[in-house]
Point group: C2
Amino acid sequence: MNKEITIYDIAKVVGLSPTTVSRALSNHPRVKENTREKILNTAKNMGYQSNIFASSLRKKRSKSIGVIIPKLNSPFQSSVLAGMEEIATQAGYNLIISQSTESLEKEVSNANTMFNSRVDGLLVSKAGTTDNIEHFAPFFKKQIPVLFFDRVPEDNNCTGVVINNTQAIYDATSHLIKEGCKRIVHVLGNLKINVYSDRLKGYKYALLDHGLAFKEENVITNDLGEESGDRIVEKILKLKPRPDGLLVSNDACAASCLMALKKKKISVPEDIAIVGFNNDLISRMVEPNLSTINYPSYHMGEVAMKNLINHLDDEHQEILQKTNTITLRHELIIRGSSKR
Amino acid sequence: MNKEITIYDIAKVVGLSPTTVSRALSNHPRVKENTREKILNTAKNMGYQSNIFASSLRKKRSKSIGVIIPKLNSPFQSSVLAGMEEIATQAGYNLIISQSTESLEKEVSNANTMFNSRVDGLLVSKAGTTDNIEHFAPFFKKQIPVLFFDRVPEDNNCTGVVINNTQAIYDATSHLIKEGCKRIVHVLGNLKINVYSDRLKGYKYALLDHGLAFKEENVITNDLGEESGDRIVEKILKLKPRPDGLLVSNDACAASCLMALKKKKISVPEDIAIVGFNNDLISRMVEPNLSTINYPSYHMGEVAMKNLINHLDDEHQEILQKTNTITLRHELIIRGSSKR
């Protein structure tokens, strides 16, 4: 590695004092405009790196924000990240991103790395197997703000950015019932995750409010994988009488179920009506188009990051501590897969 | 913010010398196992943050790697990122990720931020409007390795991880010709990007080798957006005689074209055969399933990161400097959209 360029080296080249150089580089008002320009140009040509590390140590700010998500390669999560990046860059923060790959063990190690990297704040969407948040205790202790999004812990002291998952599935279930469905199967992920336990509530409430009985056998939990349609449809077709409605907690998995049903010559929506979740691209590309819940993922990224940065910039740091939950708007979008 | 915990504070609590504490925290072999454990536990309970910043300043290593991509929310890019994150985490590096949103101006600013954040290395996939790489000069000057992937610059001194785009489209074009297509339209992105200029070559070579004439009007460049099918199909249907083959540079856009064609009652593959690119989930979900080129995106992320880290760990640092291009295998996958 080359020798590090210092302000002393720059001072020698421009023939000015190190103090003037230092002031010019930090935009001190006492330095004249043309002097500043000369110094900045020289610094640039010499390959000077402004010492963010050293200046961060003094200010105790790293100007970086950590993000821990379950999975980088998911349309939902990457859209959230894009929204976060937009806001962070505007505010001069770097994003340090890691994925827990749905493992508590990896999430613990991610949190540890983020802590030692001295992020100014942390944004987290929990792994599927995470049933406690002890590994974030060092952050809480040091008053480094931790904001959860989408998958948030039960703990009432944490702030979370979410949608109303219960209401969203309540809306979807009610819609299916209105379309004449009487035996609705709900496919969802790990019930340890608030997202899915809340949705199950919405499903139960809607059945209750419409006078239909809840049956345990109509709830299928799985990994919601892109290729899980065949397995899910096989389970459904064993149920007697055959279900006539299907509520799936993400669009990729719903599309996969749709493919599997069509392979079995079962008509959608006539025999079985389907509603997905997220409003991913795929919901508009399969035939019939999937009814779904619009989940404002990009907007969730923006809102979470904006709130975290506002908190960091706010000397009083009160807003976030008094906020429990920020709930974004969802919307039921009715398309061919459920419109009879 | 709370007071920073130092090794002196820990030393006081455990009743040992600061030297012993320091040694224990850096896993020095002279510290006995049970002493080390006691110190580590105390450090953890007190909320001690190992001083990566200070130790990075000494070692001139930040243990972070910068990644600049055109767009976070793309199935291709997020799969590449997932591969990178996997390898980086294993090797104890953080990822700092930013997106250029296809703008040279933003890419310049991203590069500048990465430089001042003192990343140990940089992985870049160029923005669409980037026609020079001057903004990476400070990295080259400081011998901070910059590795390009997917979208690489023309500059022969840079190392890039790519697939053979020319051969991939040559294969796809030849396949369409073999299926009887005589007027093949090629839809691709900004021709300033190597990915697309290379693909155009493959298209031309295949036409030439099969005795078909190349016509400028059969090449459509656009943003390959998920919703651009209607516009593209409108253009195609104005061409006389009507094209009978369609080669689209990503699967989402190809699927959108397929939808638009079906709306116009044009049969796929009978009237117009389609081949996409990437082998994204969507290619297996639309009907008919899309023929496509399998682009090993996750593997590309792994390979790029592995090579960068090997270079950083290698005292001689020769491997990467002598490597111009690392080419991964692609594969033509033939499905219903082009099999007549």
